[in-house]
Symmetry: C2
Subunit: 230 residues, 2 copies
Amino acid sequence: MSSQERSAPRRRNPRGQGQVLKAQLVDAAAKLLSTLDQPETLTLRQVAREVGVAPASIYSHFPDLSALIQHVLRLRYEELARLMDQAAQSAPDPLVDLVARCAAYVRWGVGQPGHYRTLFGGRMPDDLVPGSAHGAGAELLEAVVTSLAAAAEGERKQPSAEQQWQAGLMLWTALHGLVSLYNDHGNIPWPPLDDLIADLLSLHTARPADEIAALLPQCGDAPGLAPDSI
Amino acid sequence: MSSQERSAPRRRNPRGQGQVLKAQLVDAAAKLLSTLDQPETLTLRQVAREVGVAPASIYSHFPDLSALIQHVLRLRYEELARLMDQAAQSAPDPLVDLVARCAAYVRWGVGQPGHYRTLFGGRMPDDLVPGSAHGAGAELLEAVVTSLAAAAEGERKQPSAEQQWQAGLMLWTALHGLVSLYNDHGNIPWPPLDDLIADLLSLHTARPADEIAALLPQCGDAPGLAPDSI
DNA sequence: TGACATAACCAACAGTTGTTCAGTTAGAGG
DNA sequence: CCTCTAACTGAACAACTGTTGGTTATGTCA
């Protein structure tokens, strides 16, 4: 079924509008990356088939397949970062900020398993992952670290910078492990996701779980993709 | 360099010893799986080249490539399970049992990044991962759950079965996230692994970190692979 | 020594992939 | 109308994949 030939031979774009094919290619690649079980088996010809275009036409817009994939990944990465910032921007205090940020992370990852796996699940060829040069999601990690540190302000014992770093790191690993396993092993009986998020943050902030749960934004709050963008 | 032709045409095995090639194939596949960045790109011909044998010769020992990979994964999985059991078998109390078990898990995963990613990275086709049918490491998970529950015995509040399950699940996700990110993002400044393990278990058992750290078995304790098995 | 089953090979198949390059089409500007 | 060029195509390339059928070498046993 995936090898179906295109029925409509796809009208060529008008003169100045060569960019619309580029956008279509990006969308198709994103869709395929989110669909495929193994992201790195994405194929140039799959993208071409999806759009209904000759494989060679891609080379007018991207130097090669790596560039196309890298472009898609950069977009997804920026989308996640933007979502997390948006979720936290109106937080009245650091704890709410932290909760909103982490909830956005987990929900994005669970909502887009293919994209999450592509970005954070294992190593893509080094030059493909955006931010890999500066640490593969370093901005996200640092945001979590500072947010957690701010939320832990006012504890009776001031942690050192190393302790703050380690605490943030462990929070991120916990979030990542939750998303990864939740996505990849749907057959084991998972509790409701919000319970897990609340429990996880409760552990890492030393606050009671119900206090965290009360701070969790509603599911509909997170601004997602525009439905027509894919 | 990986495409080097074999120089010695490989002496054929004597009469009853057809099984030694099978073992060599398994070893070669294991080595390649642990080496490759993307496990699912393992190729029948790569294995054949590694051993120095014609691609067709593999079909005398395995019905197809999937069977070979599945066999290797099953061996690795059983190895991990055995290591965890061995590590915990002489534990005087449940907390030591839990610590030893988790430490063995993390150390095995960190010591064998390729194998860990292959087993738990969630990118292999479903039928390849052993235990996927009954929950992808369900035995390991259940061992952790019961171990954690036993270690939490004597707390002032007895948790329900659901709470025990959720707590074990979260511990496993944390362990998995730690191993995954530690393996895949070596460029970010990680604290010593034992500190992370102790801190993680401290969080999940509500015990002070130094108490946990004192229970951590020495690194040399874990019986690893025989050096010549690969 | 001869027969025979085992162990492994050789060559080929049909399919896939990324990439290149010489073309073709079509629409906008003169 | 003509021309030019952006937009795209078709065909081919070399390399790679899993898999197969037929073939050869080799050790063992009678």
